[in-house]
Homo-oligomer: 340 residues x 2
């Protein structure tokens, strides 16, 4: 069975490129949806993606690249979704609603969809494409794509209600440079990936406000507490069987939070730093000219939490700084009070 | 009552100097044991400690400095112990065994005493000076002394069986630049402070072996799990009433682990880095010419754990690298296998 699964990758950013490297390094053929025909031609000719991880060279005999997303989905058994959450709905909306029938989907998306329901990908796919949860998986964890490219040992966690299948999927990726972990918790892993971006944005604000390393460590320790409390409540809300069985001090939860908060180069941290230094949110975003996922995520979680109803003093304050004009310094004075 | 407590500081390293600054900035007079008379004269004349945090200037009218430890203990109600654990027993051994009678002791020591029993300070003081646990307190938390000197907001945790008194003591230190937390868990806070140095030494080894940021975050997340498991078992072993009531995702546990593991300048990390790069433990130590507390701590915890009996794959491997000649690269191959 294992050798028969045909993988399709949707998206061609740095994370898609890193996952394509992992699969092809293991000798697996992949179908790859790349919207831009010129990029496909360059990869064919030059053996690398000119826009992302350009030092990563592919065995192009293993790449079947298409500008048609329908072709890639139709020809694949497993779809690895690596499209930034902001662009996902436009990419999928016009597809026939049975196109994912009998397909497995692995989400590599670390965000909430920007729709009125603030959906995770599985909720969106279930509503519009009838993808059952049993066919849905996530691949998450602390992975700077640059370190995958540099073949530094990393850990990815494959989650799914069907843990046997999650293990089977993981085996396609595992290598000398990549260890894989299997878990059951698709809700917690996805929300953890959303939350960490908000906390990293806050770490950037703290840095911009000239708090030091002592404070940062206290902030992150308390963010960990807040995140775990939220994830526990989500589990209860979703009636997950995993409630209280999860080891949150592991790579996909705490590890990912740490690598994101401590990374000096993340977009979230950079945006936060500018806001801490006194730029308005709008000017900081224009200046950066790219998307920092913590920004929409703070709004999404703020709304979702109206149902989950967890105590989120840090996220709420960051939301108020980003969306309601609370001055950053004032917001962090409030955060100072709740840390312990 | 609060205004009447007379504080004495034992030790004159960077942490002692930072704590002296906190107390005197709040207007409190202190007795200060400084072994070296020349240092006392310089502080009197130049208003700063020439050896540590030399940019910190004191109101010398508040400093009563003595080369005699007996004078300082006798004249004080509360003794703040800031002597590195390796030098503590020689400093105290010849004192009369009733000298701490009716005194409160606050330990700022982040280590195990290098004696056959691998004692924490409270165990040593109880055995040799009959200091009851009710008179014993700890001050711990993620505090680079340099950031205290620079007046960056930091958080210190005061722990004691007598939490009312811990709160009273904490109030002497609290300021605009220092928030204080009170907790009950003197065992866990002390062992956490010991363990973090071992994990930071390991983080240094990993860095020396050229693991990247993805791996480091996974390593620290799993170290957190291992530390919390150990602390939980200690609580049961000591029959502490705090079992299961502790928030480990807070400054004194996780926060201190983070600031120590991520600090590029810590002695533990520097020693680890040299060992990871291939220096022998002995050469690395000679080269550094100072004490990295994680080195003796790994031996201490290794022995203590014969009674506590917690699963410590990371600490055990670091112990084997440091004390039993296990090659660092081989040790980390073993650690890779247990991370998740």
């Amino acid at each position: 069975l294992q050798q028969l699964l045909r993988f399709g990758i949707l998206g061609s950013g740095s994370w898609a490129t890193a996952l394509a490297k992992l699969l092809t390094d293991n000798g697996h053929t992949i179908n790859w949806w790349i919207r831009n025909g010129d990029t496909i031609q360059t990869i064919q000719k030059r053996r690398h993606n000119p826009h992302y991880l350009s030092a990563t060279y592919f065995n192009v005999a293993l790449l079947h690249m298409h500008t048609s997303i329908v072709d890639v989905i139709t020809k694949s058994d497993v779809l690895l979704v690596c499209i930034p959450s902001a662009y996902l709905q436009p990419a999928l909306f016009e597809l026939p609603n049975d196109i994912f029938q009998n397909k497995k989907v692995i989400s590599a998306i670390k965000g909430i969809l920007p729709n009125a329901k603030h959906q995770l990908l599985n909720e969106f796919l279930e509503e519009f494409f009838h993808v059952p949860l049993t066919n849905y998986f996530t691949v998450m964890g602390p992975c700077h794509a640059e370190e995958i490219a540099a073949e530094k040992l990393s850990y990815l966690t494959f989650s799914g209600e069907d843990t046997d299948m999650a293990a089977t999927l993981a085996a396609y990726f595992k290598s000398e440079c990549l260890n894989t972990v299997v878990n059951h918790d698709i809700w917690g892993t996805q929300y953890a990936a959303v939350l960490k971006n908000i906390y990293a944005l806050g770490a950037g604000i703290a840095h911009g406000l000239e708090y030091g390393d002592n404070f940062l460590s206290v902030y992150i320790a308390n963010a960990t507490y807040e995140m775990v409390s939220f994830l526990r409540r989500v589990m209860i809300y979703k009636q997950s069987p995993d409630t209280d069985k999860i080891t949150y001090a592991s790579s996909v939860y705490l590890g990912d939070l740490l690598v994101t908060c401590y990374s000096l180069f993340s977009r979230n941290r950079t945006l936060g730093n500018m806001i801490g230094k006194g730029y308005s949110v709008k000017v900081a975003q224009l200046e950066m000219n790219m998307v920092a996922e913590g920004y929409p995520a703070s709004k999404g979680i703020h709304h979702i939490n109206k149902e989950i109803n967890s105590s989120l003093p840090i996220v709420t304050t960051i939301y108020q700084i980003l969306w309601e004009g609370l001055p950053a310094a004032e917001g962090f004075k409030k955060i100072e009070e709740v840390l312990k």
